[in-house]
């Protein structure tokens, strides 16, 4: 078949590849649209930057005011810090104290219901709230009542731990007064007090 040239073709054939041709046909519009969109984005971001710069300037101005105040009052601040440090020292060291009196008070209060018969003879209290104490009772019936009482919740509520470690019986002394006649009973306890709020 013989080849012929069409001399009546209206559009000259483009020298660009088809893919690029697609972009060129739409490119003008897309370019304008994207330019406008990007420009709006650019303006918005720069507006935010301007706002943030203003904020940073304000913050820096505030910072300067605060720094000046702190510089003017650095001695006072040091005094408060010294106070805090010393207060902490004092509170820490206070923890080493046995706080004897508050716990002694707890013990005597706990023994009050049995106070007619029970005499607190000796007490040792240390800073871990561990304690040993000895109670003397002057007759048998009261000793039994006392033992019932120390097993009651009223008494036990004051302790984390309470152990009867010793029991002694003292026979009547010859020539003693009537009031001290009869046997006496001595109970030794080992205990750990429940923590109470002992502040300075």
């Amino acid at each position: 078949m013989a080849k012929r040239i069409n001399l009546f073709r209206l559009k000259p054939k483009s020298s660009l590849p088809p893919l690029l041709m697609f972009f060129t046909s739409k490119g003008k519009n897309l370019g304008v649209v994207f330019s406008i969109l990007f420009f709006i984005g650019f303006l918005t971001v720069n507006l935010l930057i301007f706002r943030d710069r203003t904020k940073i300037r304000q913050l820096n101005a505030q910072k300067e005011v605060y720094l000046k105040y702190l510089m003017d009052n650095k001695n006072t601040e040091a005094k408060f810090k010294y106070f805090k440090a010393k207060q902490k020292q004092l509170s820490d060291y206070y923890g080493n104290d046995a706080s004897f009196l508050p716990y002694y008070q707890v013990l005597t209060d706990a023994l009050k219901p049995a106070s007619e018969s029970a005499v607190l003879e000796s007490v040792t209290i240390n800073n871990k709230r561990d304690s040993t104490f000895t109670v003397k009772i002057l007759n048998y019936d009261k000793a039994i009542n006392f033992l019932k009482y120390v097993e009651s919740d009223d008494f036990l509520n004051n302790f984390d731990e309470l152990v009867l470690t010793g029991f002694n019986l003292f026979e009547k002394e010859n020539g003693a007064n009537d009031s001290s006649k009869g046997s006496s009973y001595q109970f030794s306890f080992k205990s750990s007090f429940k923590s109470i709020n002992v502040s300075l």
Binding site: S15, L16, F23, T24, G27, K28, L30, G31, V32, F34, S35, F38, F39, G41, F42, V45, N46, L48, I49, D52, R53, K55, I56, L59, Q62, K63, Y66, L67, L70, N73, T76, E77, A78, K79, F80, K81, Y82, F83, K84, A85, K86, Q87, Q89, L90, Y93, Y94, N96, D97, A98, F100, L101, V119, L120, E121, S122, V123, T124, I125, N126, N127
Partner: protein
């Protein structure tokens, strides 16, 4: 003349100028936008950092202002009290004075005291023996922590109720230099004020300005040589006036 390829590109650009220009403009604006976004992110980080610093400073200032309102008048006095209760370095004379003072206040006679081997650089262990009745010993137990003007603790106390006449107690006295940490907060609360009042209530100490001493120093003419009559001009002290300590019995 340009080579053929470049000429062709130029022809295409001229031919498609109305397309190339908006695309190029879009690319340029896109780059500017990316650059701005990066700047914005950097600024955001800066704001976070400056804002955090400012907030920290503001919190320090607020704490300080509150502290000044609550305790500015009392802070010097209480700090002076603290430095006496727990001095920076140990001073045995103040311990001896404290023991005497506790004895006076409580009525429990401290007859003997020994410095013990349990002492460390931070705390001095003093074993005391004293005589008295139950009331005076109870007074001693009430007062030994502060009444002497030195803070003291006892790790364990033995008390024998029957025929009480004497007791032995181990007392610890403390001394430690304060290291002021920059992170330490200087926040003063109402409980701190209560604490100050409590401590002040426990110790009967009066601070008084050393005005008499200063005036007597001014009255005294200082001589360059004790054997001549040449008198030196007194120099004013550069430091702030010191205060002396007077304890009330």
């Amino acid at each position: 003349m340009f080579p053929y390829r470049i000429r062709r590109i130029l022809i295409i650009v001229r031919e498609y100028f109305s397309v190339v220009f908006p695309v190029m403009a879009a690319i340029v604006v896109l780059f500017l936008l990316i650059f701005s976004i990066r700047n914005y992110q950097v600024l955001k980080d800066e704001i976070t950092s400056v804002s955090s610093e400012t907030n920290k400073l503001k919190s320090r200032v607020d704490i300080l202002k509150k502290g000044k309102t609550l305790a500015e008048n009392e802070i010097d006095e209480i700090n002076q009290l603290f430095s006496i209760l727990i001095p920076d370095t140990e001073d045995f004379f103040s311990i001896i004075y404290a023991l005497e003072k506790i004895s006076q206040e409580s009525g429990f006679n401290i007859d003997e005291y020994n410095i013990n081997f349990g002492s460390t650089a931070e705390r001095t262990l003093i074993s005391i023996s004293g005589t008295g009745n139950i009331n005076s010993f109870m007074n001693f137990l009430k007062s030994y922590q502060f009444a002497g003007g030195r803070f003291a603790t006892s790790e364990s106390i033995d008390f024998s109720n029957s025929k009480f006449s004497s007791a032995n107690v181990n007392l610890f006295f403390y001394s430690k230099k304060v290291t002021i940490d920059t992170e330490l907060k200087s926040e003063m609360t109402d409980s701190d004020i209560e604490f100050i009042r409590k401590i002040k209530g426990k110790i009967k100490i009066q601070f008084k300005e050393n005005s008499n001493e200063a005036s007597s120093l001014e009255d005294y003419k200082i001589k360059a040589d004790p054997f001549t009559n040449q008198i030196l001009e007194p120099t004013k002290p550069t430091s702030s006036p010191s205060s002396s300590l007077e304890t009330t019995p």
